[in-house]
Amino acid sequence: MGAEAAIWAIFFLPLASFGVIALIIRPFLNRHYALSGFVLIVPLAAALGLSIWALRAVIVGQDLDFDPHLWLEVGSATIEMGLLVDQLTAIMLIVVTGVSLMVQVYSLGYMREDTGHARYFAYMALFTSAMLGLVLSINVIQLYVFWELVGVSSYLLIGFWHERPAAAAAAKKAFIITRIGDVGFLIAILYLFLQADQFAAENLNAFHIPDIWQAAQPVAMGGAILGGTALTWFALGIFSGAAGKSGQFPLHSWLPDAMEGPTPVSALIHAATMVAAGVFLVARFYPVFQASEDALTVVALIGAFTALMAATMALVMNDIKRVMAYSTISQLGYMMAALGVGAYGAAVFHLLTHASFKALLFMGAGSVNHATGTFDMRYMGGLWRRMPLTYVLMVVAGLSLVGIIPLAGFWSKDEILTGAWNGSGLVDGWVSRVTFVMLLGGVLLTAFYTFRMLYMTFHGEFRGGVDRELEVQEQATRDEATRGPAAPDQVPATSGLSGQHALVHLAESPVAMVAPMLVLGVAAVFSGYLVNPQWVKEFGIPGHWISEFLLTGVEHAAPVLADRIELHDFSRWIATISTVVAVAGLGLGALLYWRRQDGRQVPRRDPLEAAGPVHTLLSQKYYIDALYEGALVRRAFYRIIAGTLDWIDRNLVDGTVDAVGWIFRNIGSVIGRLQTGQVQAYGTAIALGSLLILLGLLLF
């Protein structure tokens, strides 16, 4: 009882913060700036403490099976809410509460000047609570509930500065695109309900996640209620939801736009937690995915393709947050690909390390923005002297992202590559080999864009920040007024403007922002080596600790299939190859960007523009947004389909109604003329009518 209450408290603590901020602080105490922040931070710290306790309880094998609670029972549909605390959940709890706590502390500094801080922290509390509910869910409908609540918190936070049209549009886009993925997820749930009777015959509940694992196991294991093609479609339905949330191709296009939200939001939601929820979802249903080679093949190939494609777009972005957004999509692709090829532990391990270094990178971008007022790297440069701490931390996080030994990112990426190289019994050999090649290509691109991002931001001459950006924009507007409209690509991007720090003050950011960055920096350096030493015991932690730990969860759920997953020993060859590739990427970046004269140009010219049409293709994001929004939504759907139906509705459907009305009005006037008042005429009509009726009666 005590244990159950403690774990529920992890979820309810931030939820209570949401209630207090939304119902008391926002209406009555909105002027007290830091109050709502602390109302969230203190319960979050408690939740982190409880999460650490929960992890310990899982490690020592304490019994954490609790009876779920009935939520809704309609006929044969029994929907329960309960806690599922296994190895995966325990790790996720630490990631979510830990990163969220750091981000909230950082927000105290970053959002200081924003008057909407109570609303901000209320949304953040709602998000954190929903995310914790998501990882704790034992029931698939419960999981779906929190899944959507996470989505709506993301909607509210992306659109936090809702008076900015770009932010409002980005929020809507994020919600709708993820919802398209969720249709598949929902249909998968409906399919479960269709099988409810078979589940019930085995004494299982169709919505209970451990029961679903059981049902997907081969017949020998007392399962196979789900099997064959149906199981593959079910798994793909789940994956469709996961692809939407985790920004996998072709549902990736909302994530870069989501950068319109405040930067700490990007750090928490669009780097570390919510976007990782898709990876979590596939991992959560891994015992089901394992049973379908086809589904895993799709996951692996989509993941690998996304990893590569998103990295190419990150090469040419000028907005530092967009570089990181594409980088995030790419890294999520690594995790998905890892799940696809059977490297289950490596995927979740990478989720963990990525959460630390990517959240740090976003915080660094926010710190840089705090100083320069812009996110456009063409107006930055030379910041390392003014912001040494931010610089060092960004370099550490960046190299961790690239995968340079011995930083955290190296260990997790290496384990993914090793897994892909060796393959597993779950998918065909060619799938894992193709995945390996694509992921290795991704390493080269990652190293290149990371170097470019760090160099453009911190090195060379300072190019004036937001002040210069605004000057250039005004100049462009004046030129446009005199010379007619400029070509779209000549107008500088305005999206980098935050609208709130309209002054350049080059200095290190306040302690509230730098301190959480330091904490994450420590994690970005050490987390990989410490939790998952690859070949030796370190400080009493056995080799492959986290992978082994996670696998015991899957083995418990799916004993037979999990045997096909192997943990591979650290391979010097693969580590060498990936390091060579990474260093090559960095070197290529240095070759192109180091000490070039164009480092002084304002705005900085990008040597990659020499690539001409390729550069255009990439900076236009392969024209995918143009296809989705311009061709499909605006033209095909809104103008043609909706326009036609609307026309039909007004003219045919309603027109018929009006026409009928018109006919009756005019019949009325015709009949009115018949009413002459002549009794003889009425009499004749009555007689004729009676005759007709009589005739009718005689005939029938």
Partner: protein, 508 residues
């Protein structure tokens, strides 16, 4: 034969009418009339909630409770009684009517034209709708059904805006057309040899009485006559075009009542009469029901996208959402295995949840129109920064409308989909796509009206006052309550629908 007298329902149904009479004869002064109307509506809500919470939905309880029954017309040829009573299907709708009735009266606070008449009609409307849900005699049901037309016609044509006379007349003609069909059907049921009663409890519990009888018109014909009457009211494509006109030209309170409870009479009629009294025919024509439902869902949603008038947009979204009721009812077409309660329960839940959600949306639209003096969406924008309370309300209502879990709309949609998927998987998948469209038009509407740059002319807008915020708060609380813990509502509906489902599964 059920008999008895408790008086609770008679009081619930007629209190607003008595209040209307008092306003007509006794109460003097516009302010007094307003306060008095609020008090009457509040008292009626208390009575309705009493009926809801005192209703015993445990197993083994009587199906129909709070019976008020008197002989009314008893001759050799006609045998009708004044017969009120509720079961699990109708008692939540009584509560909904009480809730929205109070909201409608509160939303009428600023009415200044012919105040006395206005509140008289509004309260009579409430009596009529309460009567429809509480009647257990077909003739009485029909009388209340007709009674509702007059006040609504008056409210639209006198206190409306735009082409109000046209819209009021359109509403009237459509509904009377439906009533004509219904009257023929009622007579056909009554004159069937061996029936001779208007008692809905007898007609629905012993479904076999109607199926075996040699009726004047084939049973399928009677089924369709009823269905057309209710489908117009719901409304179902292609009988929906009166709705956008009536809504966009009606005053706020009338829109709230129209979308919130009047449409629900159609859905209630389908569940109570079509499904309850003609189970075989419902099963036979389930494919038609689900087709109409899916077409309404998709067509309604797509046409909603094109709307530029805030109230018309909400009206078309109602067409889409009421289509889900038909989809849920279509679940009875399940070919093999037992009929699950989910679909019908979802349809009934959808009636309730859509009532509160759309009621809230129309309240918001009314407030926007009152303050910004326009409902034309391209002219609006950025209202959230001036109206945080209204913005919170539109977010809650909008997110509930697009089926966000944790809010009420999700529960009913989920149940509808679960039920219908068992019977017709692919049409249900189409209907599920409707939730993406719903997310599209709702979020786009919110973006265009409440977010983005605020035109300068709106810089002096004020947020909702206390009287205006009160109904917003009431509906938001009910939306959250049903979303977070739906069982308190779904269990009641289930107790009313279980006898009906039992008939389908060969019992009862």
């Amino acid at each position: 034969m059920v008999t008895g007298y408790t008086g609770l329902l008679t009081a619930t149904v007629f209190l607003p009418a008595v209040g209307a009479l008092a306003i007509l004869l006794v109460v003097r002064g516009e302010r007094n009339i307003r306060v008095f109307a609020v008090l009457i509506a509040l008292a009626d809500l208390v009575l309705a909630l009493a009926a809801f919470f005192l209703f015993d939905h445990s197993d083994g309880a009587d199906r129909f409770q709070f019976i008020d029954k008197f002989a009314w017309i008893s001759s050799e040829t006609l045998n009708a009684s004044f017969f009120l009573g509720v079961d699990g299907l109708s008692v939540p709708l009584i509560a909904l009517t009480g809730l929205l009735g109070l909201c409608a009266v509160l939303a009428s606070w600023r009415i200044s034209l012919r105040v006395r008449e206005y509140f008289v009609w509004l309260l009579i409307l409430q009596t009529a709708v309460m009567g429809v849900f509480a009647s257990l005699d077909l003739l009485l049901f029909f009388l209340f059904w007709e009674l509702e037309l007059v006040p609504m016609y008056m409210l639209i044509s006198i206190w409306g805006s735009g082409r109000k006379e046209y819209s009021a007349m359109k509403f009237l003609i459509f509904t009377i057309l439906g009533s004509a069909f219904m009257l023929v059907a009622i007579v056909a049921v009554f004159v069937t040899p061996g029936v001779g009663t208007f008692d809905m409890t007898l007609l629905s519990t012993s479904g076999s009485m109607l199926t075996s009888a040699a009726t004047l018109i084939p049973l399928g014909g009677i089924f369709w006559l009823f269905l057309v009457a209710f489908a117009i009211k719901l409304p179902v494509w292609p009988l929906h075009t009166w709705l956008p006109d009536a809504h966009s030209d009606a005053p706020t309170a009338a829109s709230v009542m129209l979308a919130g409870v009047l449409l629900k009479m159609g859905g209630y009629g389908i569940l109570r009469i079509n499904v309850g009294m003609f189970p075989m025919e419902t099963h036979k024509f389930a494919w038609a029901l689900i087709t109409m439902g899916v077409v309404s869902v998709i067509y309604g949603a797509v046409v909603t996208m094109r709307q530029t008038d805030l109230k018309r947009l909400i009206a078309y979204s109602s067409v889409s959402h009421m289509g889900l009721v038909m989809v849920g009812v279509g679940s009875v077409g399940v070919a093999q295995g037992e009929l699950t309660l989910a679909g019908l329960n979802g349809a009934a839940m959808q009636l309730f949840t859509h009532g509160t959600i759309t009621g809230l949306l129309f309240l918001v639209a009314g407030l926007v129109y009152d303050k910004a003096h326009t409902r034309y969406i391209p002219d609006l924008g950025g209202l959230a920064s001036r109206m945080p309370i209204v913005a919170a309300a539109v977010l809650v209502a909008g997110l509930a409308s697009l089926g966000l879990p944790g809010l009420s709309g999700f529960v009913s949609e989920l149940l509808v989909f679960m039920g219908a998927f068992q019977a017709y998987a692919w049409p249900t998948v189409l209907a599920v796509v409707g939730i993406v469209l719903a997310a599209g038009y709702i979020l786009w509407m919110i973006e265009r009206t409440f977010f983005g740059r605020r035109p300068d002319r709106f810089s002096q807008l004020t947020d909702a006052s206390l009287v205006e915020a009160l109904p917003l708060g009431l509906l938001m609380i009910s939306i959250l309550a049903v979303g977070i813990y739906p069982s308190f509502l779904s269990d009641v509906f289930a107790s009313g629908l279980e006898p009906i489902v039992a008939v389908f599964n060969g019992g009862g």
